[in-house]
């Protein structure tokens, strides 16, 4: 990716460069969105729902997403299940081995904040976002397989807003609320 960044900067200075860049962005984002290969980092109950999501009733393959056991071939790491202090270094190492345009989905409350294991445990990492940059959080304990597929669709929206050159990322048009929307808990007049 590093190579592409300085090419993109050089292109921007060229007068017609912007158009080429946006078309490259369009192709890159579209293709990445529709072929998000999944690294199933399943440790606990959410791993069962992860398996259910990729099997016959809720087929992940339909979204172009194949579960690959090898971090090198995957784009999105789905952290499904409780991450303990003993497990965290392995998760971190696998995350670093994934090639670059990579995203992370925190599936299930244990991965988001330790969930039911937030209080009174000595060995649970309270949320994967302590050491991983998480893009989509899925609440649920465990979330339904459709919730995971919905997360992939939402991640597709997020991927579409990215750009090859860092400066040109667009705003994410998604049905999910963003903090930039109306500030939380404000009066109804915002609608």
């Amino acid at each position: 990716m590093a190579g592409i960044d300085d090419v993109a900067k050089a292109l921007e200075r060229v007068p017609g460069g912007g158009i080429i860049l946006t078309s490259i962005d369009a192709i890159a984002d579209w293709s990445r969105g529709y072929s998000l290969w999944m690294m199933p980092m399943g440790t606990a109950c959410c791993a069962m729902e992860l398996i259910a999501a990729s099997f016959s009733k809720f087929d992940f393959d339909r979204h172009g997403s194949i579960p690959r056991p090898d971090p090198r071939h995957t784009d999105v790491m789905v952290v499904a299940g409780t991450i303990t202090h003993k497990m965290a270094p392995s998760v971190k190492r696998l995350w670093e081995q994934m090639p670059d345009p990579k995203w992370c989905i925190a599936m299930g409350n244990c991965a988001i904040s330790g969930g039911i294991f937030y209080y009174d445990t000595y060995s649970v990492v309270r949320g994967v976002d302590e050491f991983l940059p998480v893009d989509v959080y899925i609440a649920g304990c465990p979330p339904r397989p459709e919730a995971l597929q919905d997360a992939i669709l939402r991640l597709r929206e997020k991927v579409r807003a990215e750009s090859v050159s860092p400066g040109r990322a667009r705003t994410i048009e998604s049905i999910l609320p963003l903090p930039s929307d109306a500030p939380r808990g404000s009066g109804g007049d915002a609608e």
Binding site: I27, R32, Y34, S35, K57, G64, D70, R72, P99, P101
Partner: protein, 315 residues
């Protein structure tokens, strides 16, 4: 002149294999889906057929990681060493009545010998990525592909004996319909040995998903890994084309353009059979692989050769 034609044909072969890989991957995911009661890719193009249109650019844009422990040149050029022989092997397949891209008198020998170079490519990639599991995968692949060369060659030899020549075009001309029942056992052996050559189906020990995570191409990412994939699907297409042509008669069934269509249909049928076997059967273990090759396939291939020899005497 042959150099220009060679260059042209090189590009043609790459296009053929790349296109075949694109369709092959999609068809494989569809067949696997239907076997497993699910749908397979479905969102891009009619019935998901353009799914590879999304996968290939994504792989292109992927970061190309070269592990620091690996020794760089071996790691970088291993996929080429796997892909090139298959493209070369595609040159001798008799596509049309009396025509093959490279019509050489020893076409069959060329077709059988060249894929053996692929083994070296796999060993290079296994050793190059400096990773215990992929080294084991590489050694397994070497043992397997070398040992399965023997039954494969012997089974093709029975056809050469029947046709009396090693030139694919002459074989196709000399082809008779009753060769199919005669060399049916030969075709089955060739078919099984080719699957072992491609490292697919019950013989995919080198990249056994459940044991070695991803076998010899564990450390390849992005497009470098895609070349491996194209190599695998290319090998499948080339072996099926050759099998369909030589064993099943290919375009000889119907004259003219219809013959060519029958040939392509037969090849697709063989490819689907390969995929069908992969998603039905569990994987061999290392020693079963060897015993199966030496105690079952090779004797049968020799038997088939004897039968073909006797019959060719009566001709």
């Amino acid at each position: 002149m042959t150099f220009v034609w060679g260059l042209l044909w090189g590009l043609g072969a790459v296009m053929l294999i790349a296109g075949g890989a694109v369709i092959g991957v999609w068809w494989e995911r569809k067949v696997a889906g239907r076997i497993q009661l699910r749908l397979g890719p479905q969102q891009i193009g009619p019935a998901g057929s353009l799914q590879m249109l999304a996968d290939v650019p994504k792989l292109l844009f992927k970061e190309d990681i070269v592990p620091d422990g690996a020794d760089k040149p071996v790691f970088r050029y291993a996929p080429l060493a796997v892909f090139a022989p298959i493209a070369m092997a595609a040159a001798v397949i008799p596509f049309w009545a009396g025509w093959a891209p490279f019509d050489s008198t020893v076409g069959v020998l060329f077709f059988l010998a060249v894929p053996a170079i692929g083994v070296i490519g796999i060993l290079l990639s296994a050793w190059g990525s400096h990773n215990t599991l992929s080294t084991i995968g590489g050694l397994r692949a070497a043992a397997q592909m070398i040992s399965y060369e023997v039954p494969r060659s012997l089974s093709v030899l029975s056809i050469v004996v029947l046709a009396g020549s090693m030139r694919p075009v002459e074989i196709m001309d000399a082809w008779r319909w009753w060769w199919v029942p005669l060399t049916l056992v030969g075709f089955v052996i060739y078919f099984t040995a080719s699957i072992a050559e491609m490292n697919r189906g019950p013989f995919d020990l080198p990249e056994a998903e459940s044991e070695l995570v991803a076998g010899y191409f564990a450390d390849y990412s992005g497009f470098r890994w895609a070349i491996f994939m194209m190599g695998e699907y290319g090998a499948m297409i080339v072996a099926s084309l050759f099998g369909a042509a030589v064993f099943l008669g290919g375009f000889r069934w119907l004259p003219g353009i219809a013959g060519f269509v029958v040939f392509i249909a037969l090849a697709t049928l063989v490819i689907t059979a390969v995929m069908w076997i992969k998603w039905t059967f569990p994987r061999f273990r290392q020693d079963h692989l060897m015993t199966f090759c030496w105690t079952v396939l090779t004797p049968l291939a020799l038997l088939q050769l004897v039968v073909a020899g006797v019959v060719s005497l009566w001709l």
